[in-house]
Symmetry: C3
Subunit: 158 residues, 3 copies
């Protein structure tokens, strides 16, 4: 019988998103069904830098939109970010080991059939619009997340 | 058959506590059995600001009691807190969307029958007394947490 | 039937590692099978301060090796670390309650048969060598982690 994994992506950190997407890709290669549910800061990973807009937003939503990361490569590290120096160092170390970057793992996950779900309430509070996100993202509410997670064989809050 | 969810609340951040309590409330509305176990910084959420005391505490416990958040609305954000400016901005954005605040979700969870458990060892180390916490909190040890979590259909560390 | 717990150790914080090792020790005392999988910052906990080396490392790996914690007692707090003052305060409060320190819980977990696994890719990117880690650590890849976690009764991302 097919196994299921559900990841709740809350943090919006480069390193945590990297770990989660490596797990998601590996799980798909093992034929495990994978859902990733993005809430709060986690949604920054799925912003499409090319459809960024300030239209029809309140003043706070505009400020918030401008101050926060716009897509995968823009995310900070959870530790030792040091205004980006620590992150640059980690990226160089990844290159030395020919490890793909975050956006590569994201593309891989999309191609391999990982399901991408976004939290409706978080989208509303942050003022993000559907068209500002990657097209594969489906917006659902907390109950739809819970239904999926409760049926899964493992769940992580990342 | 009734499903069970167990959340280990470790972080003591406003945004993470908000996410957890939204999940807890939604789960109860779906008739899912919910236990929240509060350890370390997570216990700050359940301090009762009105029964705060410095009596019978060591010097370190007094300092610690004074320097740390006293109840739900006092918690910082996990990111972009910026000495409270970022949090104020998020609260304004929540108000614009008529989203309830953390203390509302906490009251909702208590009313809906979410079980609140606190970590005995954390309480002892931090010098918190039972009467300084919300009355619904039951103090248990790590083994009682594990027994509940191992029987649940999903567990998250938040 | 024997229950199984799987902990993914990502963070490398003193307080989170303490919580995880208390759970691991308690679970073993309840005869629960425990695997801890260390990735990214989590690996700092298992560095052996006595076999620290800069040989055969790139410039970035050397810098990274020197700037990061070297073993359990060197880890910072996830909150209120305040350049070590907050951590010192917490340690004094633990001593006042005769609570063991992190390295004691680590020794306990090793003695009680907790399985220690390290993430292969993280080791390569950070430039850590097997002989720089505690001897009980077995290096595995993401798929081996997933296989174990999917069979477990509970999984946490810490």
């Amino acid at each position: 019988m097919e196994k299921k994994m559900n990841l709740l992506m809350f943090s919006g950190d480069y390193d945590k998103a990297l770990a989660a997407l490596i797990l998601a890709n590996s799980a798909r290669e093992m034929n495990v069904d994978v859902t990733m549910f993005f809430a709060f800061w986690g949604l920054f990973l799925l912003r499409n830098p090319e459809t960024f807009t300030l239209e029809e937003k309140t003043v706070y939503e505009k400020m918030f939109s401008m101050m926060t990361p716009k897509g995968p490569e823009d995310l900070p590290l959870s530790k030792m970010n040091m205004s980006g120096i620590g992150k640059q160092m980690l990226l160089e170390m990844m290159d030395d080991n020919e490890a793909p970057h975050l956006s590569d793992f994201l593309k891989g996950a999309l191609k391999k059939g990982v399901k991408f779900r976004g939290c409706k309430l978080s989208m509303e509070i942050m003022g993000f619009k559907q068209e500002e996100m990657i097209p594969e993202l489906e917006i659902v509410d907390a109950k739809e997340y819970l239904k999926d997670a409760l049926e899964a064989d493992m769940q992580l809050f990342i």
